[in-house]
């Protein structure tokens, strides 16, 4: 078990500069958002927004190079970083553009799963709190959405990120995803939505024949986790109030525990639809998306590797291969990694010799790469690296398509080299 330094928000002004100078993975970040240079000015026309100290919020930040991005972030020391769309012009110059001409053109397709949207079906926590018991909901959400986005929609490059407090984000980075219209994004989000209705609606999931293959796939995921989540972790049969809630949905039957209750409730069973048990499972466990987050092309979403000011946790990528063992409380805080940075290690002496032979920027980068590797952040950057590698292979295909083969193979070779550099 990793020791966690206690995080105190008051330390942020001291920790953030260190984080941005020595730990934030700028070169991977820049590589990601440049998307292989396939489209001109893709990075330059990207909007970033920063929340500075004292809640000062600035939009339409944009940068021409990685270096400029680094320098600005180190100078402004943002508490929060959001990523927006790629526009028709440089966002920092949007006021100089004729009104109407400044348009959001492309952006990743994103999803935001927030634990507060499940408050009506979790008993362990509410609002911003989460715990290991309700974290299962996130696992279910990720499994269902990841499968659907890949298998149904044909997307390949998905980056799942822990938000730092109470949810997860998904960034779909395929070329086709980035080019989707508002209508298309909204259609995808609605296809993925099954739980509908607010405070007033009791029965939030309604199933009827025939059951779409997507729903069946999702049900098989939910069924795997339902027993563990709803009965054990959430203990939905543990109090009268909770049982009432369940029975109000006219629960049909489930594990043995229910059978004795079913006798008195039998008369109600006939009134429900034939899929009541499935509907209940879905109402308790199926992912709840905010369609509005997904549908806007210009919507700003928290950036990966941003710090969460309230918890101090870094928004780290999630490795889906290790999803079952992912523990949000193990995610490093900024105080932890800054502390780990100060600890000396054995190999440092050797590397110092090599330092003299390189130019300053490369040396700085090398140092930084060495730096994060010494901290708990390392494994998460690795996840990000793997994600980038997979995408790079697709950029190769794009580049070849765009220009003549001979010309690009050389630049592709170089791009490849820089990926394998770390």
């Amino acid at each position: 078990m990793m020791p966690t330094s206690d995080y105190d928000p008051a330390c942020l002004p001291d920790l953030l500069p260190l984080y941005y100078r020595r730990l934030f993975p700028f070169s991977q970040y820049y590589r990601w958002l440049s998307y292989g240079g396939v489209s001109k000015n893709y990075f330059q026309n990207r909007e970033f927004s920063f929340t500075l100290k004292d809640d000062i919020y600035v939009r339409y930040q944009s940068f021409t190079t990685q270096n400029e991005l680094e320098k600005e972030m180190q100078k402004m020391v943002p508490y929060k970083v959001d990523i927006g769309a790629v526009y028709s012009h440089r966002p920092s110059q949007h006021n100089a553009v004729k009104s109407g001409a400044f348009q959001a053109l492309e952006k990743e397709l994103v999803f935001d799963i927030d634990m507060t949207d499940y408050d009506d079906v979790r008993r362990c926590c509410s609002a911003a709190d989460i715990c290991s018991k309700c974290w299962t909901l996130m696992i279910i959400a990720i499994r269902i959405l990841d499968r659907a986005l890949r298998e149904d929609f044909g997307f390949h490059h998905l980056l799942w990120v822990y938000s730092g407090r109470r949810g997860v984000h998904c960034w779909v980075c395929d070329d086709a995803a980035r080019k989707l219209s508002v209508a298309a994004r909204s259609a995808v989000a609605e296809y993925l939505s099954l739980v509908k209705g607010g405070e007033e609606t009791l029965r939030k999931v309604v199933l009827s024949d025939p059951i779409h293959p997507f729903i069946n796939h999702s049900l098989s995921v939910v069924e795997r986790y339902f027993q563990q989540y709803a009965i054990v972790e959430q203990d939905i049969l543990g109090s009268k109030e909770s049982v009432d809630k369940v029975l109000a949905l006219l629960l049909v039957q489930f594990p043995d525990v229910f059978i004795c209750l079913c006798v008195s409730v039998k008369s109600s069973i006939k009134k429900g639809g034939q899929y009541f048990d499935k509907e209940i499972m879905l109402q308790y466990c199926y992912p709840r998306l905010d369609v509005n987050v997904s549908k806007g092309v210009n919507h700003l979403l928290k950036s990966p590797f941003s710090v969460h000011p309230k918890t101090g946790r870094i928004s780290v990528p999630i490795d889906l291969k290790e999803l079952n063992t992912f523990d949000p409380f193990e995610v490093p805080t900024i105080s932890l990694i800054c502390e780990e940075l100060e600890r000396p290690t054995a190999d440092e002496a050797e590397e110092d010799d090599v330092k003299d032979k390189e130019n300053e920027q490369e040396a700085g980068e090398r140092r930084r790469i060495r730096d994060y590797k010494r901290t708990s952040l390392a494994k998460y950057v690795k996840v990000f690296d793997r994600f980038l590698e997979a995408m790079a292979r697709s950029w190769k295909g794009e580049m070849l398509k765009k220009s003549g083969e001979l010309e690009t193979s050389f630049s592709v070779f170089l791009t490849f080299m820089s990926f394998t550099y770390t």
């Binding site: 929609f153 044909g154 219209s181 296809y191 007033e200 025939p210 779409h212 029975l247 008195s264």
Partner: protein, 502 residues
């Protein structure tokens, strides 16, 4: 002799033309017509297509769009107006008319958002209807001829995916999958089906059964037409400067384009006893005024009888009810039953289309009430916001308990000549809502919207306690589920003892 030769040559040309230009019954209207036509043809074609589109709208509202009645009525109208349809041998003239009339109406309907929306909606419904009438083979031909690159799925893939296809698409059976084509389309081209999850998705493709391909084609149609109308609007000034065309185009687009309530819905749902109460709660001011005058004087003159009588027909009164209604009122006045049957009953039957052959027995739209047949002394018809003296209007509104600030707002609108907006404001004030939620242009629309609001979104109910309803809030989605939960709670009563022991 020269003439004869020329005529023969022209016939031959037309013959060739026929083979190429209008070889298909249905078209996407991609290319504008290039020939010269006479002004008469211009006008006739346009008016007839407008009639057709209005029928499309009315029939769509009163019958379900896939019902037998819908098919019968549209078939009849298309034939009687001489438009192409199920494909026949000598359809050349009809197809030519179809082509030209569509483009003329584009000119008339491209100018405002409302007009465009209406035009696109009716053209889409018409297109959908005609496409669905085509034989399966002709559908495929149409897709190919129009370069709609929808790939068909191989027999083997169909077999592998059969169960999944059946589970995702409505109305798809095993045999249908085997016998008919299934199309593979990028999901971005099938958003309506994706959004409602009515299609099977795999690797980014939507698998669309033959009978649903029309939805995809329609989306395409709408996108193209929308773009075309925007372009037409830009080049319109040039067209409008032609003095021959300008009056006609103007007349076409000012024609009332909303529902005309000529085909009755809710027939017999209103009883005569309800009319007094309804007149206070759901009638627009003009009809409330007419009703009051009728009750007080036991008589209405011709203009008033027409305006009010057609309105009543529009809200669902049957002929028998109407006869009873008018007779009972007139008889209280100076008219005896005999005279009523001789003189007035005829005109009531006329309104219901049971006498003679009137072309216009549709309830009057606001436009018609405001613009035509102004009332004179002794008349009670017309639009009070237009035709009443502002002082009298103010008094009347005060009598009807409209708030002083509300009255001022209405009078302001009247001063600015916004009569329909004034009536809309009257709706908002009497129904206690901030926004009517619709754009008023027909008295029957006022009635329908009012009933909708007061009945919580459901249709007219037979027994309506108006005073209770007026306080109800419009959000009605919650009612059914609240009712269920109440029931469920009642039934759980005996479970209390189960938990008592804790």
């Amino acid at each position: 002799r020269q003439f004869y030769q020329r005529a023969r040559r022209r016939k031959k040309l037309i013959g060739n033309f026929q083979n190429d230009l209008y070889d298909q019954c249905l078209q996407f209207y991609g290319q504008p017509p290039l020939e010269n036509i006479s002004l008469t043809e211009f006008e006739t074609f346009a008016v007839e297509r407008l009639k057709l589109l209005k029928t499309v709208e009315n029939v769509g509202v009163s019958c379900g769009k896939s019902s037998e009645q819908y098919t019968k009525k549209l078939d009849a109208e298309i034939s009687s107006l001489n438009f192409p349809h199920r494909g026949g041998i000598s359809e050349y003239e009809k197809r030519r008319k179809d082509h030209i009339s569509h483009f003329i109406l584009r000119l008339a309907y491209c100018q405002t958002e409302d007009l465009r929306r209406w035009f696109i909606q009716q053209e889409m419904d018409l297109f959908r209807y005609r496409f669905n009438c085509l034989h399966s083979k002709h559908k495929t031909d149409f897709l190919h001829k129009n370069n709609l690159k929808y790939e068909t799925v191989s027999a083997e893939e169909k077999k592998n995916l059969k169960d999944k296809l059946i589970a995702s698409s409505y109305g798809l059976s095993g045999t249908k999958v085997e016998e008919h084509d299934v199309y593979k389309v990028p999901f971005q081209d099938a958003l309506d089906l994706v959004r409602t999850r009515k299609v099977y998705l795999l690797a980014g493709n939507a698998y669309i059964p033959h009978h649903e391909i029309v939805t995809i084609v329609l989306n395409d149609f709408r996108t193209r037409l929308s773009k075309a109308l925007a372009m037409t609007a830009r080049s319109l000034p040039a067209v409008q400067s032609d003095e021959r065309l300008q009056p006609l185009l103007s007349h076409l687009s000012h024609a009332y384009v909303g529902q005309d309530y000529s085909i009755q819905k809710n027939i017999g749902k209103i009883s005569l006893e309800q009319i007094d109460a309804l007149s206070g709660k759901s009638f627009p001011l003009c009809m409330r005024h007419l009703h009051k005058a009728l009750r007080e004087n036991h008589h209405l003159r011709h203009g008033g009888r027409m305006q009010y009588g057609l309105f009543l027909k529009g809200i669902g009164l049957t002929l028998e009810q109407a006869l009873q209604f008018w007779r009972s009122e007139f008889v209280k006045g100076k008219v005896d039953a005999d005279k009523f049957d001789k003189a007035y009953a005829y005109s009531v039957r006329h309104m219901f289309g049971k006498e003679g052959k009137r072309t216009d027995y549709t309830p009057y739209s606001c436009m018609k009430v405001i613009l035509s047949n102004p009332p004179s002394q002794g008349d009670y018809h017309g639009c009070p916001f237009r035709h009443s003296d502002p002082e009298l209007l103010k008094q009347k509104l005060q009598n009807y308990k409209v708030s002083p600030s509300g009255i001022n707002q209405i009078l302001e609108l009247v001063k600015g000549m916004h009569y329909q907006l004034a009536c809309q404001k009257y709706f908002e004030l009497t129904h206690n809502v901030e926004d009517a939620g619709f754009s008023l242009n027909h008295p029957n629309q006022y009635f329908t919207e009012s009933q909708k609001l007061l009945n919580g979104g459901r249709d007219i109910k037979k027994e309506v306690d108006m005073s209770q309803r007026s306080q109800e809030n419009p959000a009605s989605v919650t009612h059914p589920s609240q009712a269920n939960s109440k029931q469920a709670h009642e039934e759980m009563g005996d479970l209390d003892s189960f938990f008592q022991d804790e």
